[in-house]
Every structure is written in C-alpha cells, then in structure tokens.
Amino acid sequence: MEKGHDHGQNKYGMVIDLDKCTGCGTCMTACAAENNVVVRPDESDKERSITWMLLYKITNGKKFPHTEVCHFPRPCMHCEEDGNGGHHPTCVSVCVATATTLDSKTGIVSQIYTRCIGCRYCQAACPYHARYFNWWDAYFPKGKGLERYLSPEVSPRMRGVVEKCTFCHHRLMRAKNQAYSEGRRDLKEDDYITACSEACPARAITFGDLNNPNHKVSKLIKSPYAFRLLERLNTKPKVYYLSTKDWVREWADNPVPHVSPSS
C-alpha cells in the first residue's frame, strides 16, 4: 500500500506489450461482457459494431514467407490534452452538453449516457475511433433471456447516445468499497485493474497508476520500446504500447510506409 495516494492525484493508465499480445481477442470479449456492451446479430459492420476495446491487425507488408502480423489492442486512450495544449481531451472540449469530462482525480475520461444528446461531435474529434454511437435500441429481444447476464455495475445504454471504454471505472468503485470495508483508504496496485488486463491470457496488458513510481506501469513506460499511438498529435494518451519490433513502432505514428493496412 502506498502512502498518501488517496488524496493525491491518480493517473490511471495502461501498458500493452505487443510482443506478448497474440491477437486472441479475449480483451474484447471480456470487455464486452464486463460492460454490458450490446451485441447484435451482425457484428461484421465495423463502422457500427460497438467495441470499447478493438483489435487492429497490421502486417509488415513483406512478401511470403517473410510476412509478420501484429495486433494493436485499442481501448479509449483517456487523453490528457486536446492536441493544442488545451487541458481537456479533444472529445471533452467539444461536447455540447458536458456529458464527457476528464476526472482530475483519476485521469479517467467519463461518459454520462443520460446526459449525452447524441450529436456525435466527440466521435468526429477523436482520432482513435474510440467512441461508439448506439445506432440501434439495445438488442434484448423478448424470450431470448439475454438480459439475464447483465451486470448491475454498469448501466445499459439507450439508443442514440455515445459510449466508450471507461477503464472499467466501476471496478475502481468496487475496489474502494472493498478497501473501505477493510478500513483502508489507499488502494493496493492490484485492487483495481480493468477487465481486459485481468482476462488477457498472455498477460500483455498492465494497468495501474502512472503517478505512482512503484506501480508496474510507471516502470514499464520507461522502456526504450515504449510508445504511444499518434504521439505527434500531442493528445497525451494514457495508454502506452511496448514493442521490440521497429516496423511496429513505425506503424504507431506517422510517417507511415505507403502500404494499405490489412486491418
């Protein structure tokens, strides 16, 4: 347990080791199951299928048999800034109804479904396609009983609002309640981790407080192989990646080799 991190500022963040990631997709299904993400009969329309965590598949473009493949798991980046030095993420500063904000205490970008009016400006502003609009009513047909696996910790969304990865914020609340009942205010490192990092079989996803030097994430981001997506845009994401492969790190930020991606 670390001292003084309850009233101090936390900055929760994620480090994804692309060398370990096998592209199995467990992070995606675990996320969907954890967060009551709606699933429709056809999920192949990638422009409209809701995936808070999404795998992008990239190849090094080399000819057979020198082809290499790598997957980029992409949650919400929970950016710090808007890319122009403004201290709101680009999606937050554009929101008309204050439905999404950057929590200064956790560094998590919230999304309030009952406040959102569905103007989708935030989607246009987000370069990571991390935000998803509910184009349909939640799919829970009568007599299918699908609503029975819904978790009460995350409220299901109605049609016409935007949703996105919340770093499993409800798990932070869960962890706090647990700590409180044990008479603690401070959280231990493992008390609060996201569903994706918990489920990842290859242990590729590490989650923790970037402000806490003792947390694994803080150590990992010091690696020479650590980088962030679109670093050049200065959105200051709190999701970091690790890869020892040069071509992968190349892919993460412009300039890009002019080959069309296979994802």
Binding site: T101, D103, S104, K105, T106, I108, S110, I112, Y113, T114, R115, E153, V154, S155, P156, T166, H169, H170, M173, R174, K176, N177, Q178, A179, Y180, S181, R185
Partner: protein
C-alpha cells in the same frame, strides 16, 4: 370574426377582473392541483415500526452508542463493502423465526409471518430512496469513511412508528423522498431531497469538490 375596427372603438371595462379571472385559477392549478396530479400514492405492503425495532429494551443486540450504529444492525454492509439496503426476509427471521408464535401482537407482524415467512416470499417493500440506474452511490463511503449519520439523508425515519405511503413522481418515476418533498423545491432539511445538486452541494460544503466529478456518482 368580430370586426377589429368596432371592437377597438368600444371601451372595455373591468380589465382587472378579467386579469384576475386568469391569474387566480392559475395560482390554484400550479400550487394545489399540480402537486396532487404529479405524484402517485401507494401504501407499503405491511407496516414496519422502526421506533420499536430500534428500542434496546425490545430488541436486544440493537444497542449501539449512536442511532446510526443501531440502523446498521439491520441495514448493514456486506464484506465487499456493498450496502444491504432493505433487509431480506431471511434477516428478519433471525428473530421472527417461528411463524406460529409472533413476538408482538400487531396485525402487521402476523401478516408478515403468515403471508411472507410461512409462504417463503419476500416482502415487496417500496423503496423510498432508490436512485435511478444511472446513479452510483456508496453508503460505506459516506457512513463509515465520511462518518455521516443516516439521518442526514434519510431523516428521522428511525423514529417513525408508521411507514408513510410511497409517493412516486409520475413523470420521472422517482420517489418523492429523493425527488424533493417540497413542490417549490425549497429544502428545509438536508433529507428533503437527494438530487444531484444536493449531493454536490454537500460535497462542496465539506470541501470535497473533487467528488463532484461525473463518474463518482454515475455509472
């Protein structure tokens, strides 16, 4: 259609009367009728006497220095820190164990034992303070860590002998207890209303503005 020309020529008297003819009924509608229409009223399935159950003389084991401690005797916390809320019948039967032999002599207890305990049914209590699904509230954070008394939000419920009828706002579907007892929105006591602004007001007063962040209370 009356010809505007001549109507404008004819001088009209008693303007004020006509004005009041609109004004006064409007006031009545707004202050008297509207509140009656806005809220539906429903009695609880059976009565529960909080005062009685909080009396150490009557219920042994209930003693505790503060009233809050006594409340927690039934409305307590689970090991994972979540709040029990309205107790389930199983909790009641720890004392009211035998349907045949009531501990008191009220008809409510009798009904409770025969209808629910014997019939192994839960009592369909109507919750006065249920927040909507989009709201997250941690009792333990407030009561245990924040040392707040139950009464701050729930008032003197513990001293009541009768359960008041449950009133629900027809538009929002929320209980009047969280949606504001006073139709005009005046707040005489802290427990008159439990809306977002009330939570925020208290957070701010206690110097916890950071807890007004959206995700602290929304899920």
């Amino acid at each position: 259609m009356t010809n505007p020309a001549n109507s404008s020529e004819k001088p009209s008297q008693g303007g004020l009367i006509f004005f009041l003819a609109g004004f006064i009924p409007a006031l009545i509608v707004g202050w008297v009728i509207f509140p009656m229409v806005l809220y539906s009223k429903q009695p609880q399935p059976i009565n529960f006497n909080h005062k009685l159950h909080l009396d150490p003389e009557v219920v042994d084991g209930i003693e505790g220095d503060t009233e809050t401690e006594r409340c927690l005797y039934c409305h307590g916390f689970r090991d994972d820190g979540t709040f029990v809320g309205i107790p389930v019948a199983a909790q009641c039967t720890e004392c009211h164990d035998d349907p045949e032999t009531p501990l008191g002599d009220t008809r409510d207890e009798e009904e409770f034992l025969t209808k629910y305990v014997a019939g192994e049914k839960e009592v369909p209590w109507l919750s006065y303070s249920r927040q909507p699904d989009c709201v997250y509230f941690s009792h333990i954070a407030h009561v245990k860590m924040g040392n707040m008394d139950c009464s701050v939000c729930h008032g003197n419920h513990g001293e009541s002998e009768m359960l008041p009828p449950y009133k629900e706002n027809r538009l929002t579907g929320y209980s009047i207890n969280i949606w504001g007892k006073n139709i005009a929105g005046y707040k005489l006591d802290t427990w008159d209303r439990m809306k977002m602004d009330d939570c925020a007001e208290c957070h701010t007063k206690k110097g916890h503005e950071e807890n007004n962040a959206c995700f602290v209370c929304h899920k």
